[in-house]
């Protein structure tokens, strides 16, 4: 036989062997499946993959629905706003990427109209030239106060607020620039983009008209917007190109983060959702860790036998790896099917909370769910698998100790990293690796300490108590795994309970019930009394004195917007800012740094922290402001942290009031308006239009700005995020219950052996019951001790490094955790062991023979 023929036969034999092994492994798997082996292992994988599928499917759907909601508020998915015309090449790019688009050009101008008697009325309006009759996302609500017609070259739409400021009715004529427009309808909008900057009521005309009525010229303050909407990949490409272009005049707003604070809250929600899913998977992994030891220990003797019969180590590896893969694949398939069905069944419920509901494409969720199932089994069963398949054939004749292989730990570690990377964003990998190393070290040390503690207790114990402790320590490695797994599960649950509560409380606190929802601006000193009289029935009115000014010098050095490297700083300098004039810093601001009063040499100014960072300001710096053409010098005496989303009166700069500086003071107020009437509730008429009208008539120039709709939208988004977070928490709880059950299963055989021995030597039912109960109380108590230690360490680290608060040792946490741990384990123990505690010696013997 020549070498190529020999090679061919060798290859054919190998292929035949492989197919045969696949057949044998499949046969053994089916046999075991039929007999109910692997149940807990499969259940854990099913829970893991179904949880991941549900979380990814619902998470993606919720995320897309919330994005759609945010997009509708924005009128688009992405908006470029600029002080200069936006080149048409960007429209072409959007078109090439398959994105929908429209353009809006806005400016503030005076609108003129005449009443029936021919008297002229003027009003400052925010005039928008639009290319489309509707936004790219969502709809504009047409007010029933006027008949609605589509915009043509001679018509205009108005904000309903304008009706109370000007004598307008159906077919009224409004002059804008050099052209007259006929009133064609009234539409209501609410924008999450810079709500506080749009102070004048809005009007809409066609874009070509705006460009031809003589309002745009050199020096005009015009704002240009290009809005786009479409598929997320195309949007990402578009946004990336815009960011790369790095135009300082541009401001990019995305529906993913319509405002900075809301964006941060939503980011936290997404992270929590991902972490919840990961927690559920890790908790299920703990169950696999215990169950795999139990099942594979049962296989050890059989593997030793097969090896004695002549099966090679490689063959055993292949045969059992194939069986494990079968378990993982079948369970993952069941898991993703269940997960998807569960997502479908939750769809109507979800639709009540999220309108419109975008139910995400199932592909990515099913893919992640399936591979999470495969990985979670291999990650947590790897050690038990390797230990089982490496069983020496000598085991058939005598007991020999297992050889420890450190490489197995390394492989488990790599698999765990793979699993975590699959579920979380890859850019957090360095944190994950660090976290896993630290957690592994803590777990290892904790396991050793817990076992030492148990051994110490056992040495000094007597009677039934000693037997109970001996039952736990009989298999030290198993005891370590049980204690650490259950402890970890309790810890994850405790952490999730606190974090979830904290998140929801924070979100609720960010918009409490008494949050101001309306502002009155531009109140001159002589108008203040009249405004106060008009608004005397509103609740929680707060006033702030302010001036309009611009920062021009820092420590005698003139600052110019064009020299600013940071575009935000440049934009800040180009426009006048509202500067508060107050003797005290408002309570809702947090002073982060304060200058020693003895060192202050000039009138003081307090600066918002981020602005200070933007301009590189520090305490003691001298700042010159230009106010009404005159420069005033102030010294930076404090830095403040401001919650911009709180709707309180907030300012970048607060200057000290001085009698010798005759500043052009005006006032700004905020207050709480009653909630908007729902539907056609005529008995509960909205009071805002009446205020607008009265203010316009009695205090010209004073503007009321109503933010109730915007607040309602933010509240809705927050509510949706809270709902999603709570739902996920439920899944982790479910997975945890499975772990607790499997934790008792792992040591079932040795426990029953011990009870059989006790029964045989004549122990009463009461004694066996005491032994059983004590075992569970101790396992639970020690696991509770472990979880409390972890929680305390995490709490101390969070206090020290994140919250910057003094670390506190919480004794109650320890007591609570130990009691809860013991209690839960006792209940689980009673549920799972009750039937065994009632069995006779013969029945216990039969159980052992069958298992």
């Amino acid at each position: 036989m020549n070498s190529s023929t020999a090679h061919y036969w060798k290859k054919t034999k190998m292929t035949r062997t492989l197919f045969n092994e696949i057949f044998v492994a499949s046969l053994w798997f089916l046999r075991s499946l039929k007999k109910g082996d692997w149940v807990w292992l499969m259940l854990a994988v099913i829970i893991a993959s179904s949880t991941v599928t549900v979380v990814k499917q619902l998470g993606e759907s919720v995320q897309q629905s919330m994005l759609r909601k945010a997009s509708e508020s924005l009128g688009a998915d992405l908006v470029i706003q600029s002080t200069r015309p936006i080149d048409y090449q960007w429209s072409e790019l959007a078109e090439d990427l398959g994105l929908q688009q429209n353009r809006t050009t806005s400016l503030v101008t005076m609108a003129l109209t005449k009443d029936q008697a021919g008297e002229s009325f003027f009003q400052l309006v925010n005039l928008n030239g639009v290319t489309d009759q509707k936004p790219l996302r969502g709809e504009w609500t047409t007010s029933n106060l006027l008949d609605y017609k589509p915009l043509d070259s001679n018509s205009a739409w108005i904000d309903p607020g304008l009706l109370s400021l000007l004598p307008l009715e159906k077919n009224s004529v409004i002059t804008l620039g050099n052209k007259e427009f006929k009133l064609a309808g009234s539409i209501e909008t609410s924008s999450l983009i810079n709500p506080m900057t749009n102070i004048a009521p809005k009007m809409w005309i066609q874009l070509e008209q705006l460009e031809s009525i003589g309002l745009i010229g050199p020096g005009s303050r015009v704002s240009y917007r290009l809005s786009v909407a479409g598929e997320s990949e195309a949007l990402d490409t578009f946004a990336k190109r815009v960011r790369e272009h790095d135009n300082p005049a541009w401001q990019l707003t995305s529906a993913q983060a319509p405002s900075r604070d809301l964006g941060n809250s939503l980011d936290t929600a997404w992270l929590f959702l991902d972490l919840s899913a990961l927690s559920a998977v890790l908790v299920a992994g703990m169950s696999i860790l215990i169950a795999s030891r139990f099942y594979l220990a049962r296989w050890k003797q059989s593997i030793a036998l097969m090896r004695a019969f002549g099966a090679s180590n490689a063959k055993m590896n292949r045969l059992f790896a194939m069986q494990m893969t079968w378990i993982a694949a079948v369970s993952s398939l069941i898991g993703i099917a269940l997960g998807y069905l569960l997502s479908l069944s939750l769809r109507p419920l979800l639709a009540e909370y999220f309108q419109p509901l975008i139910f995400a494409e199932p592909g990515p969720a099913l893919f992640t769910g399936f591979f999470s199932g495969l990985l979670v089994l291999w990650t947590f069963a790897w050690q038990a698998f390797r230990s089982a398949v490496n069983t020496s054939p000598i085991h058939v004749l005598k007991t020999v100790p297992d050889q420890k292989q450190n490489l197995n730990w390394f492989i488990s570690f790599l698999l765990l990293l793979g699993l975590i990377s699959l579920m979380l964003n890859l850019n957090k990998l360095h944190w994950i690796i660090g976290g896993v190393i630290v957690a592994s070290l803590i777990l290892y040390i904790a396991a050793e300490l817990l076992l030492k503690l148990l051994n110490m207790l056992q040495t000094n114990a007597k009677g039934w108590f000693k037997i109970a402790l001996a039952n736990i320590t009989k298999e030290p490695n198993l005891a370590k795994i049980q204690l650490v797994s259950v402890g970890m599960v309790l810890f994850v649950l405790m952490l999730m309970t606190f974090v979830r509560q904290d998140l929801i409380t924070n979100w609720q606190a960010s918009l409490p019930d008494d949050t101001p929802n309306a502002f009155v601006m531009n109140i001159q000193t002589d108008q203040k009394q009249t405004v106060d009289q008009i608004l005397n029935s509103v609740k929680q009115k707060t006033d702030a004195a302010m001036v309009r000014g611009r920062l021009v010098k820092i420590n005698d050095k003139a600052i110019v917007s064009s020299e600013m490297t940071n575009p935000r700083a440049g934009r800040m300098l180009r426009r006048e800012a509202n500067i508060a004039v107050m003797s005290e810093i408002p309570e809702h601001n947090i002073v982060t740094q304060k200058m020693d009063s003895k060192l202050i040499q000039h009138p003081g100014v307090s600066v918002e922290q981020e602005i200070a960072e933007l301009f590189g300001l520090k305490l003691g710096d001298l700042l010159d402001f230009s106010i009404s053409g005159q420069e005033y010098r102030y010294q930076l005496t404090s830095l403040r942290e401001v919650q911009w989303q709180s709707f309180q009166l907030n300012f970048f700069f607060i200057i000290e009031p001085l009698t010798d500086r005759n500043l052009p003071i005006s006032y700004l107020s905020n207050f709480v308006l009653p909630e908007l009437p729902v539907g056609t509730d005529q008995g509960n008429k909205d009071i805002a239009p009446e205020y607008t009208k009265q203010l316009a008539e009695e205090t010209p120039g004073v503007l009321l700005f109503d933010v109730r709709k915007i607040m309602l939208q933010i509240q809705e988004i927050m509510d949706q995020a809270s709902w999603a977070v709570s739902g996920l928490y439920g899944f982790t709880l479910l997975a945890s219950i499975i772990v607790l059950f499997t934790a008792t299963l792992a040591s079932q055989q040795s426990r029953v052996q011990s009870w059989l021995l006790l029964r045989t030597i004549g122990a009463e039912n009461k004694t066996i019951f005491k032994v059983g109960i004590t075992e569970f109380l101790f396992l639970g108590g020690l696991a509770g001790l472990f979880s409390a230690t972890l929680a305390q360490i995490s709490g101390l680290l969070i206090s020290q490094f994140i919250l910057d608060t003094p670390p506190v040792l919480n004794i109650n946490l320890w007591l609570f955790s130990i009691v809860i741990g013991s209690g839960i384990f006792l209940i689980i123990g009673l549920i799972t062991q009750w039937s065994y505690l009632q069995k006779s010696a013969q029945q216990l013997k039969n159980f052992l023979a069958q298992n």
């Binding site: 035949r16 082996d37 049962r298 000598i394 069958q850």
Partner: protein
């Protein structure tokens, strides 16, 4: 006649906290094809260790073992496994049946492992030979000790090994059942022309073999 097994000056040591323990101190033995050999000795004398060395389950500390003309101490684990797969069968004191498998599945197991043809027919035939064809679908927990050992014997003989190692095969059985198992073992051994190496502390059982050796203080002494 060419020997099947040849042990020359076999030493086996085990490390322990108190130092090295000498289990075997220069054992010699030659086994011819189809011979029946019994090894007796007190508990802890090293009988099972000697059996595991002869079967190639482990290597001696010193000395040479020839199993089917191959020096076992020079072979790796897989090469030794290959010899066992083709030539060796085992019977154990505690039967070593898989609890979740039926009697038939237990007998089938080694044949499935090595892709033997007509495995099911052969397994049923083996069960019939040991008188258990009517119990083929029962699990070990549903069988008596004697029946379990018969299943183990069927499993050992089904692949027609040249040498059969039996470690206290009647150690867990009552006298009557033990007698039945002994008869069955010798009957099958004669029918299938197998070499039998038996480890037992039962002198009566040992006396049924052609040769009997006693393991005492680490040395193997021929008794008759």
């Amino acid at each position: 006649m060419k020997s099947i097994i040849k042990l020359q000056d076999i030493h086996y040591q085990l490390p322990s906290e108190e130092g090295v323990i000498d289990i075997l101190k220069g054992c010699n033995l030659t086994v011819q094809p189809q011979q029946t050999i019994a090894i007796t000795g007190r508990s802890g004398s090293g009988k099972s260790t000697l059996l595991s060395l002869m079967a190639g389950l482990e290597k001696p500390t010193n000395g040479t073992i020839q199993l089917f003309d191959k020096n076992i101490e020079q072979l790796n684990e897989d090469q030794r496994a290959n010899i066992r797969a083709q030539q060796v069968g085992f019977i154990f004191q505690n039967f070593q049946l898989m609890p979740s498998m039926t009697a038939l599945e237990n007998v089938l197991m080694p044949m499935e492992l090595f892709q033997m043809e007509n495995a099911k027919e052969k397994a049923l035939e083996a069960l019939e030979k040991v008188g258990l064809s009517h119990r083929s679908t029962h699990r070990p927990s549903e069988l008596s000790g004697g029946e379990q050992q018969r299943v183990a014997i069927a499993r050992a003989f089904v692949s027609k090994p040249k040498v059969l190692f039996a470690d206290e095969p009647t150690g867990n059985l009552d006298e009557n059942t033990a007698k039945q198992i002994q008869d069955l073992l010798f009957e099958l051994n004669q029918t299938l022309h197998t070499t039998l190496i038996l480890v037992t502390h039962d002198n009566k059982f040992a006396s049924l073999c052609e040769k009997t050796y006693e393991l005492k203080h680490g040395a193997l002494l021929e008794k008759n």
